[in-house]
Amino acid sequence: MSRSSQDISHFIRLRTAALTYASNSSHIGSVYSCADIVACIYHLHLNTCTREIVSKAPLILLSKGHACLSIYTALEYLGLLENYDLNTYGSNNTVFMSHVSHKVPHIPFSTGSLGHGLGLAVGMSLGMQAKGVPSPIYVVIGDGELQEGSVWEALMYIGAHNVQNIIPIIDYNNQQSFGHVSSTLSLEPILDKFISFGLEPFICNGHSHVELLKALIEADELKAAPPLILAMTTKGYPIDFMLDNHEWHYKSPNLENLKAIEEQLATYYYPNA
């Protein structure tokens, strides 16, 4: 089976639409915002010959835990949820709770309250270095989440001590609960802030797999300073009625929405079909 990054992101979006429809649950717009980021991380860890995960799943801390379906569906697609049934999503007593859960294989930490992922990643990195087995740790962070002080406590430490092996990726979609981040509590000038904390930011289109993969590889290779990827995204991408619309933080698709999503995804991923 071919497992390109596009295949992974297509599956994430399709399966998320089906699951949020079936479970009447929220956050589809958030998943669509970071689906390409997550897909590219997993793709980097595939064996280029067999298209299977090299030895173990990459360490991804989804600090914006509400986008959990991006991780659950990617794990399912790659065959890493053996004996677990993702169709239980949204039902009573499922391990697949609607914020990312460490009860699911290959997920190191549960999150849900914002601002926890980076500090956890710093600890994991320090522990790995003490054991002599460093490994990249990807931390997917929402831009609204940057309003949490704990994020900056962790960034200050990462910058001051050049903590290695952490690759923070900001899902910069300019959306939070009530509308745009820029009109709620502006983060700008965000690049200046990251640079002043000692980080080296990489900016990319967060829906371009070419740009994302390039940024992820370059960030991993950077040793002079701790990297950070600012992935410019759009909430709900690429579905026209969800684009940049904070209502899709909350709404679940109805049957009509689901069909429209499936049609638009088919056109987006297979424009010449």
Binding site: G115, H116, G119, L120, G123, L126, G127, A154, Y157
Partner: protein, 288 residues
């Protein structure tokens, strides 16, 4: 207690090489021996307690025994959600060590008085509460912590606490006096030391220091108190959510209606007072 803590930590690291000590810029003139011996296992994270607790959880996830140290309210209330979500929920081997339990910081004021820390920490389902009363019981607590891999809260007093004449122990408590009495005086933390030092407990009764308690230890408490008809419970903490409240909950859960339980906790009127610890005990803890 503080010195015992750091001595025990050095011994553990020397023998097992599995310790990390994290501080949030507190512990001056205490932690230096550990930091000098094991600079790679010591981190001063700056004045950032939320970050310290998340980092503690991250390091513990890699198999290490992590101790984070600060003044009681700072690494508990300031980082409550990190303790709840990152440490306790994941059941990680992180020991949150606080200094200045109760009113030990006296005139430094309310910000430094640990009067509600038990209430917070004992609400966390996996958290063991360790509250020693003297250096010897502190050492017992640390040996217990070293033997297990779970979240712990170790509440220390400060320094120069006299050693108690403890007789015998279990996994949860030390018997200080034993007279086969119907009346038990049950204390946790430094309150036990104050009661002994100031001869506040009748020698004809039984007197026990419960140094380990929490949600995982309700049965041990029930087995202990069910042997008595009267139980006086002491703590240097407010009544709400504290040790005495926990004992009362255990008794109610087990329908121990034949035991008279009398709580002795700090009065809410202590809040905001600038007083010495001795003054707090004599004026805000009803003992008789």
């Amino acid at each position: 207690m503080r010195n015992q803590f750091i001595r025990s930590l050095i011994d553990r690291q020397e023998s097992h090489q599995d310790v990390f000590l994290l501080v949030a810029d507190l512990g001056y003139s205490l932690i230096e021996p550990f930091a000098e011996l094991y600079p790679d296992r010591y981190l001063n994270l700056g004045i950032a307690e939320q970050n310290m607790i998340s980092i503690s959880a991250g390091i513990a996830s890699q198999g290490f025994k992590v101790f984070n140290y600060s003044i009681a309210n700072f690494n508990t209330f300031r980082a409550a959600e990190q303790l709840r979500n990152d440490v306790d929920y994941h059941g990680l081997d992180v020991t949150t060590v606080s200094v200045g339990g109760g009113c030990a910081y006296g005139h430094l004021g309310y910000s430094h008085h640990a009067l509600q820390d038990y209430a917070l920490m004992r609400s966390l389902p996996n958290m063991n509460i360790y509250a020693p009363a003297d250096p010897r019981s502190c050492n017992i607590c640390l040996n217990s912590i070293f033997d297990a891999r779970c979240p712990n809260y170790l509440r220390l007093h400060k320094s120069n606490e006299p050693c108690l004449p403890a007789l015998a122990g279990t996994n949860n408590y030390l018997t200080i006096y034993s007279n086969n009495s119907e009346c038990l005086h049950l204390a946790t933390g430094f309150a036990a030391n104050y009661l002994v030092t100031h001869k506040k407990v009748p020698y004809t009764d039984d007197f026990i220091l419960m140094y380990l308690w929490g949600n995982q230890h309700r049965q041990a408490c029930y087995q202990l108190i069910s042997q008595y008809s009267v139980v006086h419970v002491y703590e240097d903490h407010l009544l709400s959510g504290g040790f005495a409240s926990w004992v009362l909950e255990v008794a109610a859960q087990n329908e121990c209606y034949n035991i008279r339980i009398k709580p002795h906790a700090f009065s809410d009127h202590l809040v905001g007072q600038s007083v010495t610890e001795d003054y707090a005990f004599t004026h805000y803890l009803e003992i008789n």
